[in-house]
Symmetry: C2
Subunit: 153 residues, 2 copies
DNA sequence: CGTTGACCTTCCCATGGTGGGAAGCCCGAA
DNA sequence: TTCGGGCTTCCCACCATGGGAAGGTCAACG
């Protein structure tokens, strides 16, 4: 069993399958900036370091970062990801808890979609009635300015 | 014609149809905080003041704030609103310019909707395959963790 | 007239994610 | 040994909004 090396040199860390932050970034799609940030807010544990203070990441760390990346891609917030990570690392979890989180977020997304679609519909409608030429008259500006119009149907 | 009053008292300002920031906020739905902020970033001109340094808003100011509020409700950014306000106040504008801005924003919204819907679909799909009971096995976590699955379409 | 409570003023700080950049140290290859 | 790039920490920026402190003012009521 090897001597308990707390802060190895870079070359020996690499031999043991560790990655520096740049490699971790490439392997996970999470920028170095954000990896440090996630450590700062406690979303990932503080990385071990080389003698020269470089951060070191093992496969489990990479895995965790990929989990975070994928969760971000699905629009989860940091807080939600914190909860998801907790469940992920808890063998005694109930899948119902995970499903509840996922459904809640899906509902948030659906709500957001409805809001954006409402805006979009309104805008398309306004744009449709704007002749879009050199004249200054514009129902879009009229609407934004609160002009009373007979909102054609 | 009345004496040129630069900084009147509150009571005489009110007689002349001015509102303080709280009233302006109620009339427009824009918070006092944001009204001050909009002034700070130059989105609205610096308000006139009473002798005691209270901000004063006339009907044109209220109108402008309503325009901003409505634009925000449609999801326009501050920069876009700045441009819209410029067109609104420019009698020589071409409605084509306004329409272009509106369409561009509508397209942004549509893009955002597509992104959110993709997330939502993925999530609903994952949740569908999660039994959601007391057992820890969970395809949602498996997916987030990057477990290779035969993604049953 | 005085008190009181609501309002106004400026100023600083926080949010959520992400990025930019400076100053200084370190690694690896030529 | 030198040099380009990567690493470290630290601060600042974005966008839009809100919270709150400290202090001055207004309006209404007794």
């Amino acid at each position: 069993m090897a001597r308990h090396v707390i802060r190895p040199e870079m070359y020996e860390a690499r031999e043991q399958g560790f990655h520096n932050i740049g490699e971790a970034s490439e392997l996970t799609g999470v920028s170095s900036k954000m990896i440090r940030h996630y450590e700062g807010i406690g979303l990932i544990p503080a990385a071990s370091r080389t003698f020269a203070n470089y951060r070191l990441y093992n496969d489990a760390d990479i895995h965790r970062l990929r989990f975070i990346k994928r969760s971000r891609n699905l629009g989860f917030s940091m807080k939600q990801i914190e909860a998801l990570l907790g469940l992920w690392n808890n063998p005694g979890r109930a899948s119902a808890q995970v499903k509840k989180l996922a459904k809640a977020h899906a509902d948030e997304l659906a709500q957001k979609v409805r809001e954006l679609q409402a805006m979009q519909r309104t805008l398309e409608n306004l744009a449709k009635h704007c002749h879009g030429d050199q004249r200054p008259d514009c129902p879009i500006l009229d609407d934004l300015g609160g002009v009373e119009r007979d909102s054609c149907h």
